[in-house]
Structure formats: C-alpha cells, structure tokens
C-alpha cells in the first residue's frame, strides 16, 4: 500500500470516529472515539509530510500524547468525578444527528470540489471540513458539558486536519504552541466542568439558564 492510500485509509477512519461520537449516547464511548481520533491524527501527520523529518516526528508524538492519551484520560476523570454516564436528552436525536453528519460530509465534498486543489491527498480537505462541522454539531446539540468539550475537541481536530495541508510551511514552534493552547483550553474547561458538577449536582449545561435578559 502506498503512502497516499494509507493516508486516505486513516482519513476514512477519522470520519468513522466522527460518526461514532454522533451516534453514541454513552460518554465513555464518545471519549474513546475522541482518543482514537487523536491517535489517527498523530499518525496522519507522520504520513503527510516527509516522515523522517524531526519536525513531523515530534509533532506526531505530541499529538498522540496530548490528543490521544492525556486529554481523553482527563475527560474520563471528569466523567467519573461527576458520575455521569450518558447524554440524556440531546436537542436532536441520534438518528437525526447521524443524518446531519452524513449531510455535512456531502456538503464538505461539494465545497472542497469548488476550491483550488492544494494537496495530493484528495480526501484531506473535505474530511477536515466535515470533521469541523460535526464538532460544531456536537457542541450545539448536546447538553452535557463534557460532551460539549468533546465537540470542541472534534472541531479543533477538524481545523488541525486542514492545518496539515500547510504542515511544511507553519513553523514548528508555532505548531507546538497551538497544541499546548488546545491542551490548556480543554484543561480549563475540564476544571469548569468539575465545578459545574459540584455546584449543580449534574454537569448538564442545560442547567445554566440563570443569566438572560429579563
């Protein structure tokens, strides 16, 4: 199997993890899917650029460590602390979210078709857009704070996927900065989730309705 085919296989697996999050009510399944997605992203960054460059290797290791291992473990901890196992009542049902996800993939391919070609891996740009939309979808339609963090991570992964097309041009230090910022962002969110749980006895962001125009 040549490198291009391998990259496309990885991208297809990434779309599958997107759908796994969209179609699952169990938080632990969502977190597992996001962990797998993180590892896939790390491997993908090795495949896309020259795999022997130190740049790509450190970035891949950092991505796997942060997005594939540390953040999922942290989210799992937050989930255990809050004793929440399931997403209760999503604004849109699971079947409907899966259909919307499929629609997002279709729209992304149509959109990518109209933009100039920038990479030899054809699937990269449409799947980046699709992942971004799926992340937004999860963020908007789910009510548990942890699931919203998962949505944010997927959104961020979509942006990261698109960033891979520019891997050789964005300086290494900056990429590490981006990675660290995402790490801290999720960390801060996790701490807020922890406080929400303590304060409201549930991490449902749907409880957060005190502030509004009267």
């Amino acid at each position: 199997m040549n490198i291009g085919k391998f990259a496309e296989l990885l991208l297809l697996l990434i779309v599958l993890t997107d759908f796994a999050v969209l179609g699952s009510s169990r938080l632990s399944a969502c977190i597992r899917a996001i962990a797998i997605q993180g590892v896939l992203l790390g491997v993908l960054s090795l495949v896309i650029d020259d795999p022997r460059s130190v740049h790509a290797m450190v970035l891949a290791a950092g991505t796997v460590a942060i997005k594939g291992i540390i953040l999922p473990l942290f989210l799992r901890w937050a989930m255990r602390e809050s004793a929440v196992r399931r997403e209760v009542e999503p604004a849109i049902g699971y079947m409907a979210s899966l259909c919307l996800g499929a629609l997002a993939v279709g729209a992304s391919f149509a959109l990518a078709d109209r933009l100039p070609v920038i990479t030899r891996i054809e699937l990269l740009v449409p799947i980046a857009f699709a992942t971004l939309i799926v992340g937004l979808l999860v963020l908007v339609t789910r009510s548990k704070a942890i699931t919203q963090v998962v949505g944010y991570l997927i959104l961020e992964n979509g942006v990261y996927l698109f960033g891979l097309t520019q891997l050789s041009r964005v300086p290494f230090l900056v990429e590490i900065g981006v990675l660290l910022d995402v790490f801290v962002a999720v960390f801060v969110m996790g701490i807020v989730v922890f406080h929400i749980n303590r304060e409201f006895d549930s991490i449902s962001a749907a409880n957060l309705v005190e502030l509004r125009e009267s």
Binding site: L115, P116, I118, L132, L136, L139, A145, Q148, Y152, L155, E156, V159, F162, G163, T165, Q166, R169, V170, P171, V174, G177, V178, D181, V184, A185, V188, M189, V192, H195, I196, E199, F200, A205, L208, V209, E210, L211, E213, S214
Partner: protein, 481 residues
C-alpha cells in the same frame, strides 16, 4: 530585546506572584510590573518599528497603539486591584493576580505579533488567562458566565485558527518569502490566491468577531461582563476586545494589500450596523448597569468595524476609536465597580442618588456618560465624527444616517439609566454602614487618570500619536484627515 522584555517580564511576574506568601507583596509586584511595562512601552515610542525574533515581532504603529492602550489600562486596573482585593479577596487573590499578569503578557504578544500563528497563540492565551478571572467569585452565576464565555470564545478562536491556515493556503510558495509573516504577505499582496483569501477573511471575521463581541456573535458578552468583577470587565472591554479587533485588522491589512476591499467592506458594514441595532435594542430598558455597559461595548465594536468598512477617513476614526473606546470603557467599568462595592448589586434599581453616597464615583459616572456616548469634548466625539464623515465622504449616506439615529437612541438609553443612578431619589442603602463614608482613594486614582486621558484625546492628540494613527490608517486602506 526590548520587545521580548515587554512579553517576558509580565510572564515571569505571573509565575513569581503565585508562590508569594503575602498579599501585600503580591500586589506590589503587580503594580511594579505594570509600571515597568508602561515605561518600556514608552521607550518603544522613541524607537519606532523595533523588531525581534527575525521580524516575527514588530512594534508597528497599529500594534503600538493597541499595546499602549493595554499598558495604560493595566496600570489603572492594577492600582484599582489593590483597593479591590482589600475589600473582597476570596482565596487571597493568588490566582487572580497571576492571571492578570498572564493576561498582560498575552495581550502584549497579540499587539506585537507580525506572525499570524503567533498572534493566534497570544489570542488564545488571553482567553485562558481571563477565564479564572471571570470565575473569581466562585458562585453559580459566575460559573455559568465562564462556561458560556469559554465555549463561545473557543469556537471563535478555532475559527480564527482556521483563518490562519486558510491564509497560509492562499499564499503561494515564493522563495525568500516567509509564510504567515505579515510584512512578507503584504509586500506580495497581489500574488495571493483570491478564493482562499476570501475564505480566510470570512473565518477571521467570524472568529475575531466572536472575541470582539460583534452582534450576532455577542451573546457571551452581557453574561460575562455582568458577572465578572468590574476590574476584569474593564480589562476585557477595554483591552481584550481591542486585541481581537487588532487580529481582524491584521487580516484587513492583507485584504487591502491583495485588493480585496470590495469584498471585505460590505461585510464589515453589515456586521457594524447589526451590532449597533442590537446594542440599541438591548440598551433601552436595560435593568443592570454592567449588562448595559456590555451592550455599549457591542455598540463600540460595531463602530470599529463600521469605520474599517466605510473606508477613507472612517478607517482613521476606527483606529483612534480603539484608543478612545478602550480608555472610556475601562474607566466606566471601574467606576461602576465602585458603585457595586457600595451597594452590593449591579441592578440599576438598587442604585439611587449615588451623588450623596459616593460623590466622586457618581461625578465620574456623569463624566463617563458623556464620554462613552461620544459627546464633545471627549475623544470619542472626535473618532465617531471621523467615522461618520468617512461614511459621508465615501457616499454611504444611509450608513451615516442609520449610525447617527442609533447613536441617538443609545444616548437616551444610557443617559436615562445613569441620571437616575446619580441624581435619583435616595433610597439606596450601603452594604455596610462603616463604608458609607465615601470612596477609597485607591479605587479612584485609576478611573480619574483614565477620565483625564479621554478628555485629553478629545482636545489634543500628540504629534507622534497623530503620525502613528495616520500610518495605521493607510495600512488599513484609509486616509488620515
């Protein structure tokens, strides 16, 4: 060296302040750092276009204006912090002071970055530094506010990152031209691929627009400003939104260099007008002072993008308005903070006849009313006037007319509330009768200084600032008057 010091000194102080055992020492460190920071920024004005890190950091006119605003506001806020943390200081203010200093470092990074990805890193860091500050009181309402803020700005900042990558995509590979470095992009503006650049600009507008709080992406703003300590509100509405505007302005510089203004300007005008309409709608009948100030911030962010959108002198007005709005908002939030400390509430109904109870703060609120609504002799009058005349000279008659009508409505809304607070029949009781004697001096120095500055900017603009404003306006596709 100088530029790096401006970034690293506050960052080091942030790390140092956390383990310091005594509150007094920590606050001394805070004020000392902000004085040093302002002094270094002053030196920067004498060494124009200083660069560092091989052109990744440049103190260009636009960035320097924002940096100066940040530094001045921060000094006022840090003096205020001494007074504030004496009044209410849960958990000794450890994290509070460290996060404030971290915020100063991150905003300085945004102001000085000429590398788009570095700018993004700074922008994201400001979000993270501010989150614990909003959550200062650790209660349900502030928790809700910080969650909304984190989720919305994280999405905004993710869009901004996508905009950075899209910009890199739009930039063709030319030997000797560095990717994502502002000066290199602008110098080769015509070679940019237009369709990717348009996509980049749209995402930059959505991303930085969320951070600025442009309507309809402003929904976090009233909640966050309503619940955050007033000092944090002052820094967010004065410094943070200005930094977000700077991010958008950097993308605008690129769009101008690529000759894409026909695409960007209608977008900016639309966002500006929507923001003014939303602000006017929610300012009328608003019951909470801090939420009112939040909608006023939405209004002024709208004015900034309107100025960029109409072009010509309007752009000059927008750059000047960054400075004026930042100072006026900072001052108003600090003053309102004094009133909240006195009455224990930010609901306008709980504040009546404050002139008797807190004469200094009430007088400053009166000054702030005219400053923030753009009346002469305050600086905001000059900048808003420039924006309106920019609109007229560029034949956007209806934009100018709509803007003036909405500003008049907003004036009535803010004036109605403030006049009742200042002169209304005195039914207010203070939280604590011992404190009924008046404001503490530490809580007044900051807002007094800012008030003096905003008056000065209305009457006289120093020559170096005038030159910088003109240069910044030209880079953004405008002219100076």
């Amino acid at each position: 060296m100088l530029l790096l010091a401006i970034l690293l000194i506050p960052a080091a102080a942030a790390g140092l302040a956390y383990p310091v055992p005594k509150r007094g020492l920590r606050l001394a460190l805070l004020v000392l750092t902000s004085v040093v920071h302002l002094a270094l920024v002053g030196v920067l004005w004498r060494t124009p276009d200083a660069t560092a890190l091989g052109g990744w950091l440049v103190a260009d006119p636009l960035g320097l204006i924002v940096l100066t605003l940040v530094s001045v506001l921060f000094l006022a806020a840090s003096v205020y912090a001494i007074g504030l943390l004496r009044e209410e200081s849960p958990r000794g203010g450890r994290l509070f002071v460290s996060c404030l200093l971290g915020f100063l470092s991150a905003t300085s990074l945004v102001s000085l970055s000429h590398h788009f990805a570095l700018l993004w890193v700074g922008m994201e860091s400001t979000t993270l530094a501010v989150a614990p500050l909003i959550f200062h009181r650790h209660d349900r309402r502030s928790l809700e506010a910080v969650w909304k803020y984190l989720v919305l700005s994280s999405v905004g900042i993710a869009f901004a990152l996508l905009a950075v990558f899209l910009l890199a995509t739009a930039q063709p590979v030319i030997p000797g031209v560095r990717a994502l470095v502002l000066d290199d992009i602008v110098a080769n503006g015509q070679s940019l691929e237009k369709s990717w650049l348009r996509a980049a600009y749209v995402f930059a507008l959505a991303g930085f627009g969320t951070k600025m709080g442009l309507a309809p992406l402003h929904t976090w703003k009233p909640d966050t400003y309503g619940e955050a300590p007033s000092l944090v509100g002052a820094l967010m509405s004065g410094a943070l939104t200005s930094c977000a505007f700077l991010g958008l302005a950097r993308f605008t510089e690129v769009a101008v260099a690529a000759g894409l203004t026909d695409f960007t300007r209608p977008l900016l005008i639309a966002f500006g007008l929507i923001s003014l309409v939303i602000a006017a709608a929610f300012i009328i009948g608003q019951a909470d002072v801090k939420r009112l100030l939040a909608y006023s911030s939405v209004e002024h962010m709208g004015l900034l993008v309107l100025g960029l959108g109409v072009g010509g002198v309007g752009v000059y007005g927008a750059v000047l308005h960054v400075l004026n709005n930042g100072i006026a908002k900072g001052m108003l939030f600090l003053v309102v903070g004094n009133l909240v400390l006195a009455t224990g509430s930010s609901a306008a109904a709980d504040m009546r006849g404050m002139l008797k109870l807190r004469p200094w703060s009430a007088a400053l609120l009166f000054v702030g009313l005219f400053a923030v609504t753009g009346s002469p002799p305050f600086g905001l009058f000059v900048s808003e006037f420039s924006i309106v005349s920019g609109a007229i000279r560029q034949d956007h008659w209806w934009v100018a007319a709509a803007m003036l009508a909405l500003l008049a409505i907003i004036f009535v809304g803010i004036g109605g509330m403030f006049v009742k607070i200042i002169f209304g029949p005195g039914t207010t009781t203070t939280v604590d009768d011992e404190k009924a004697t008046g404001d503490s001096a530490l809580l007044l120095i900051g807002p007094l200084g800012l008030a003096a500055l905003v008056v000065m900017l209305g009457l006289y603009i120093p020559t170096p600032l005038q030159e910088s404003l003109a240069r910044a306006a030209r880079l953004l596709g405008g002219v100076s008057p």
